[in-house]
Point group: C2
Chain length 481, copies 2
C-alpha cells in the first residue's frame, strides 16, 4: 500500500507478481548487474538455473553472479558463461562443471573466491553491492514472509540469504509453494522482501544431502577419527562449555561420535555445535551433549525437522557465523573444529580450492573462518587421494593459512604445528602417534603413485581471498580454451 | 577479533565492557546525539532512567531521546529535560509526568510523535538517524546475542529494537543477566550488537503488564464489546482467514472473547492475531481459533511463555508490523481492528494523544497504522470520561484520520462512517443499534458534566506525525513554565 494512501478496505497489494520475469522487470535489472543466490538447496537447487535461463532469454548480458556455492547441478551455467550472459562470478565454493570451465578460461574476468565470513563482510561493508538478491524460498506468502521449514523442498535455516536481503537493492523471493499469509514459521520477514515469484519447482529436496551425512565405518577413516578425537580429549579444551564444529563428511562425523562418547564419559555438557548441521548433530543436542546448535545451513532433513521443533536449534546468518567484521563471530567461540583438506603443506597451509593439477573444485566455504576462529583447528586427511600425495611441499592453492592450523591428522599419525609447543607436550603425554609434518609428507610421497603436477602458469582465472579481503593466492588457467 | 589477526588460540574478545559508562565511551557519544530505547519493559523499565542518569553524570547535553514509549516510571527524565541533558524527544507514546512536563513547555524544541510504523519508516529511510541504540536485554551473552525470553525480567519478543539495531551507528545491549554463550533462544543476533553492559537491574517484570490484560466484566463495557463483536460478525469479514488485532484493554479483550465465541460457533479458523499480545490471545491460538500470533510486543508473562514454547507465536519487528514503507505490512492484512479513543469527532477523527485540556497523555502507538491497514476499523469508547464528552465536534488532537475509521461503538449505540455505505446495509440488516455520529455526540454532550476546554493556544510543544511523515496536527503548550 503506498504511503499516505486512503483507507482502502481491500487487502494490501500483493508482492506476488504473475511471473518470474515480471518480478525481474520490477527490479529494473540491467546488463552488468550483480545478482545473488544462496545454496541451501545444494545439489538439488533449481533456482539459479531457472533464473539465469530467464535472464538469458530476456537478453541480459555480462551479469555478475554473486553466489554462495555452486554444485554439479549448476552445469547449465557453463553455457551462459560462454554466451556472455554471465560475465563475472563471486562465490565461496564452486564444484562441478562450472569450476572446470572457469579453470579452463571460460570467463575473461577472474572469479573472486571468498570464505563464508568474507562474503558476509564484503556485502555488509558495501565492497560487493548486490542489485538483486534472489532467495530460493521453500515457502512464501504474498507479502514476502519466507519459511525454510515448510513447502515441497524444505531446507531449514536460511542463514546465507539473511545477509543478502539486508543489503541488496532489491530482493526477489522465488518459491514453488505460496502459502496463506502469514507463512509460518518465518525465517526471513516480509520487510526484507520486495517481490515474490512462483515457479514450478525450486528444486529437489533430496539434493540437500549431497554429501555423506553419516559417520564413516571403514577402518582407515575410523583410525583418523579416533586419533582426532584423542587430540581433542588430550587438548585440555574438552570441558563444560566445549564448542565444536565438524564438517558433514564421514571422518568428521566419526570424530564427533568419538568426541561425544568422551564427553559422556566425562559428564561434560558442551555449549554449542555449529556450522552445517546434520541429524547426527541433532542426536548430540538431544542427548544433552550440547546446549545449543547454531545452524547456518541444514545438511539433511533430520536437521530441518529439528530446527522446526527445537528452540535450542537456532538459525544464524553467515555474518553471525563467520563474519570477521562483527567484533566476534560464532566461529570465534569454537573450542575445536575438524576440517578437511585437498592438500596440506609443510607450513600447515591448507588447500580446499583446487585439486592436483589446479582445477577449481571447491573453495573455503567456512574453512578459513572456522580455522582462524577456533582455539584448536584440526585438519583430517588421508595421505593420498587418487594416487596423488595430499601432504605436499607447497599447496597448489592457499585457502587457509598454516598459522590457523594446529594439528594435521592422517592414518599414519599426526603432526603438530611447531607454533603450538603447549599442545605438543599435552599430546605427547597422551601417547599419541606424533610425527613431524615432514614425516607425513615423506609418507604421503612414498604412498603416492603419481606426482603432483607443477603449478600451472596460465593467466589468472580466480583470486583466493582471505576473510579480510586480502588476496592470498591466485588460481591459474589450466588449459586455455 | 580484529580482521586479519593471527590465530590467537584464545576466546574472542568479549563485547562486554566493565561498565555502562565504558560502553558509552566506546561508542563516542557526543552532545546532541540521538539515543534510542524501546519499551518492552513498559512501566517496569529501569534502563532509560539508568542510562540517562549516567549520561547526565558524564556531562552530556542536548541529547535527542528517540524512544518508542515513555511511561510514568520515566518521571526522573523530567529533571534531565529541565537541566538540558535531554534537548529533544521523538516517541510513539508518552504517558505520565514526562508528557505533562512537555505539555507545560519543559522542552524548547517540539517533540515529534510518530506511529510505530512511522517510527520504523523514519529509521529505515534515514529520516531519523540513531547514533546509539540502547537495547534493554533480559539476557545477553558476551558476544551480544540477546534473548527476550530468559533472564530476570523476560519481556518476550524484541520487535521494537529489531528496527533500531539494523540502522543505529552503534548498539549497546544493557542487561542484568549475562548468560554463557550462546544466549538462547536468540531474539537479536550478535552481529547487530557492538557492546554489552551489565547493570544491576533492567527493571521490574511486573511492570510489563501495566494495563489490564483481562476481559472487562462490567455491564457497560460488556455491552460495548457485544456490539463491537456483532459488527464484526455482520461485516462479512468473519470467515476463514480472519485476521484480528485488539488492544489489551478490558473492552478489547471482551470483544475478542465474543468474536472467539462466534468463530467457534461458525467453525472458523482465523489466520492471525497481531499487535501487543496477551495470555488471552494465546488461549485463542491454542484453542485453534487462529493459525498464528504475530507479536511485536508481549503484554504479559503468559504471552512471554507462549512465545518461548510455540513456533506459531512469531515475533515481528515494528517495521514488519506497521511500516508504511515496506510494500505491505502485517497491519495491511488485518480483517478487523478494535481500537480505543480519548476523543472521536464528527468526521470520525480519533485522538489518542491528548486528554481534554490538551495535555499529552499518549500518542498513536500502532493506532494510526492498524486503523489504516485494516479492512474494518472499529473504535470502542464510552460516551464520557471523567465527566468530559468523548464524542466531540472536533478532536483536540488528530492522531488517526477519520478516513481510516469505519465504526464507532459506544454504550449508547454505534455510528458508521458515511463512506461505508456497504457496511451500513449489512449492519442494519443485523438489527444493530445504528445512530449517526451526531447522535452519539449529542448523547455524549448530554451525559457529560463538564465541557471540553477550548483548544489551548500556547506555542507548539509537539507535532503529531502521520505514518508517512506528514505533520497532521500540533500539540500546544497548556501552561508555560
Amino acid at each position: 500500500m503506498p504511503e499516505g494512501s486512503i483507507h482502502t478496505h481491500e487487502l494490501a497489494a500483493s508482492k506476488c507478481l504473475p511471473s518470474l520475469s515480471d518480478a525481474v522487470a520490477a527490479t529494473g535489472l540491467k546488463d552488468g548487474a550483480t545478482i545473488s543466490f544462496h545454496h541451501h538447496l545444494r545439489n538439488g537447487d533449481a533456482v539459479i538455473n531457472t533464473v539465469v535461463n530467464m535472464l538469458a532469454e530476456a537478453g541480459l548480458r555480462d551479469l555478475h553472479l554473486a553466489v554462495t556455492s555452486l554444485f554439479p547441478v549448476h552445469a547449465p551455467l557453463v553455457e551462459h558463461i560462454r554466451s556472455g550472459v554471465i560475465g563475472r562470478i563471486s562465490a565461496s565454493f564452486i564444484s562441478g562443471p562450472v569450476g572446470e570451465a572457469i579453470s579452463r578460461g571460460a570467463l575473461a574476468e577472474p572469479v573472486t573466491l571468498r570464505s563464508h565470513g568474507g562474503r558476509a563482510r564484503a556485502i555488509d561493508t558495501g565492497e560487493m553491492p548486490i542489485d538483486v538478491a534472489f532467495v530460493a524460498a521453500p515457502a512464501a506468502d504474498e507479502l514476502g514472509n519466507l519459511s525454510g521449514r515448510t513447502g515441497r523442498a524444505p531446507c531449514g535455516t536460511l542463514g546465507y540469504p539473511m545477509v543478502d536481503v539486508e543489503r541488496a537493492a532489491h530482493v526477489v523471493a522465488v518459491t514453488d509453494t505460496l502459502v496463506p499469509f502469514p507463512a509460518q514459521p518465518i525465517d526471513i520477514p516480509q520487510n526484507k522482501v520486495d517481490f515474490v515469484a512462483v515457479i514450478p519447482s525450486i528444486g529437489d529436496p533430496g539434493g540437500i544431502a549431497s554429501g555423506a551425512t553419516n559417520p564413516a565405518t571403514d577402518a582407515l577413516s575410523l583410525g583418523i577419527a579416533r586419533n582426532t578425537a584423542a587430540v581433542i580429549a588430550a587438548s585440555g579444551l574438552l570441558e563444560d562449555g566445549f564448542a565444536f564444529q565438524t564438517g558433514a563428511g564421514g571422518i568428521s562425523l566419526a570424530t564427533a561420535a568419538a568426541v561425544g562418547r568422551e564427553m559422556r564419559a566425562r559428564g561434560i555438557v558442551g555449549s554449542f555445535a555449529c556450522g552445517g548441521i546434520t541429524g547426527f548433530h541433532v542426536e548430540m543436542l538431544e542427548a544433552g551433549l550440547f546446549r545449543a546448535l547454531m545452524d547456518v545451513q541444514c545438511f539433511d532433513l533430520a536437521a530441518v525437522a529439528s530446527y522446526s521443533r527445537n528452540a535450542n536449534h537456532m538459525a544464524m546468518s553467515a555474518a553471525a557465523y563467520a563474519g570477521p567484521h562483527i567484533g566476534g563471530a560464532v566461529v570465534d567461540r569454537l573450542s575445536a573444529v575438524v576440517l578437511g583438506a585437498a592438500e596440506v603443506d609443510l607450513d600447515f597451509n591448507v588447500n580446499v580450492t583446487t585439486r592436483a593439477g589446479g582445477v577449481l573444485i571447491g573453495g573455503s566455504g567456512g574453512h578459513a573462518d572456522a580455522a582462524q576462529g577456533a582455539r584448536l583447528t584440526l585438519i583430517t586427511t588421508r595421505l593420498t587421494a587418487a594416487g596423488f600425495p595430499k601432504i605436499v611441499p607447497h599447496v597448489t592453492t592457499l585457502t587457509t593459512p598454516g598459522r590457523s592450523v594446529d594439528v594435521v591428522v592422517t592414518e599414519a599419525g599426526l603432526a603438530i604445528n611447531p607454533a603450538r609447543r603447549d599442545l605438543s607436550d599435552r599430546l605427547a603425554k597422551a601417547g599419541l602417534p606424533i610425527l613431524t609434518i615432514e614425516d607425513l609428507a615423506a609418507k604421503a610421497q612414498a604412498a603416492a603413485t603419481k606426482s603432483v603436477p607443477p603449478r600451472v602458469q596460465g593467466r589468472i582465472v580466480a583470486h583466493s581471498e582471505y576473510r579480510d579481503g586480502t588476496i592470498i593466492d591466485d588460481i591459474h588457467c589450466v588449459d586455455e580454451v
